[in-house]
């Protein structure tokens, strides 16, 4: 693969990555020594600078990621204040409810209950500070378990989790519980 092709792959991968990507991972993907990847990212970052792009290629937390250019922060801030929808989506509300009532709970368990992948929703909820990793599953895989935060309680006006409205009459029949539990065990 030519260096310019390698650069394209790095651009594509960093564009879709949700977290900083360690150079080692990029090296594996490109089947190239890490040193070469570092040099490649360096050149890319440099080119964005000289082209005066609105984004930068930053080295953070042991990896590379795209960020908005610091000079443009005022615009980004205005965009975030005006442009973001201030309502919680139905998907986010459901996921938050699962974390609130079932914590500590893994993403796989949330997905099993909601029937869809919850990764991006959980990331958003964590970014907003409503949920956070609280433990690791003791089973194989050691999945991260999530719980709600103090900010969550504060925003909902709750003293503690004990003050969440009891599910009570919502509790489903034993057959449904069985199905649910079978689903939860499957991960």
């Amino acid at each position: 693969m030519s260096p310019s092709e390698q650069a394209r792959v790095v651009e594509a991968v960093l564009m879709v990555a949700a977290e900083p990507v360690p150079p080692g991972l990029l090296a594996e993907l490109l089947e190239t020594p890490v040193g070469q990847v570092e040099a490649l990212c360096h050149r890319l970052a440099e080119s964005y600078r000289t082209e005066q792009r609105g984004f930068v290629l930053a080295r953070v937390a042991g990896g590379y990621r795209y960020q908005s250019h610091p000079h443009l922060a005022p615009f980004v801030e205005r965009f975030l204040l005006d442009g973001q929808s201030a309502r919680l989506s139905a998907a986010a509300l459901e996921t938050l409810a699962i974390v609130a009532y079932k914590q500590p709970v893994s993403r796989a368990q949330m997905s099993a209950i909601r029937g869809v992948n919850v990764d991006s929703v959980v990331r958003m909820l964590a970014q907003r500070g409503y949920v956070e990793p609280v433990a690791r599953d003791s089973g194989p895989g050691q999945a991260v378990l999530y719980g709600t935060t103090d900010l969550f309680l504060e925003r909902l006006g709750l003293d503690s989790l004990d003050h969440l409205p009891p599910l009570g009459d919502l509790v489903p029949g034993p057959d449904v519980v069985e199905t649910l539990e079978a689903g939860l065990r499957a991960d």
Binding site: V16, A18, Q84, A86, L88, R155, H163, A186
Partner: protein, 260 residues
Amino acid sequence: MPYEVSTPVFEGPFDLLLHLVTVDQVDLYEVSISRIVDAYLAEMARMEALDLEVATEFALITAILIELKCRRLLPGPGDVDMDEEVAVWEERDLLLRRLLECKTFKDAGALLSRLADRASASLPRTAGLEERFAHLAPDLLAQVTPEDLRRAMGRLVAHRPRPRVDVSHLAPISLSVADAMAVLRERLAPRGQVTFAELTADLDDHLEVIVHFLAILELYMEGLLELEQAAPFGTLLVVWVGEGVAASAAAGLPARSSLS
């Protein structure tokens, strides 16, 4: 999602009909039911174990074919020639339209799949907020109450799919016999006598005609009307003999006692 359930060959009766007609070139009206049954038994024999869903599907399709044949055997609403001819054509056209519509959306589904495949080669950026801007994000919980959470959880628990009996092959009946009886009382009482064809002239749906016919039989059993037909397949005359006739145009008819 670990796997997708897919019915082995046919997805619903239209799917089967489409297959029979377009691939096997079967003439639905001419073919004997037993030939279809044979074809289906052979299909099921190829399966490793008897699948209840497929067996149901098979029963359902047979029922539909019988329904098709029955519909054709039903006498048309009017006298012999033109009306009947037209009714048969209309019925056939309706079925053809439905099959074409079904085929169209089958192809549309395949098209959506191709679009989705093409789109999935190019994945979106989802990283979202950088942590330095986190404090600027609007409070998404501003409108949310603890009760909202409880309800959301309730929806999740309640929405577990449960096994259910598929009754979709039963055509929806918008009109009950009781409804039709009430309608007929209203229409017959002032007029005294009227032909069945006239009574049902404004009905497009065969099923509604059948419901009206059943309603007439009910009213006959209650002794509220008489039926007159000069010859088989001849004009069916419905004569109102119930209360309310005296004031109507049919006042001259002799009162009759209940037959039931």
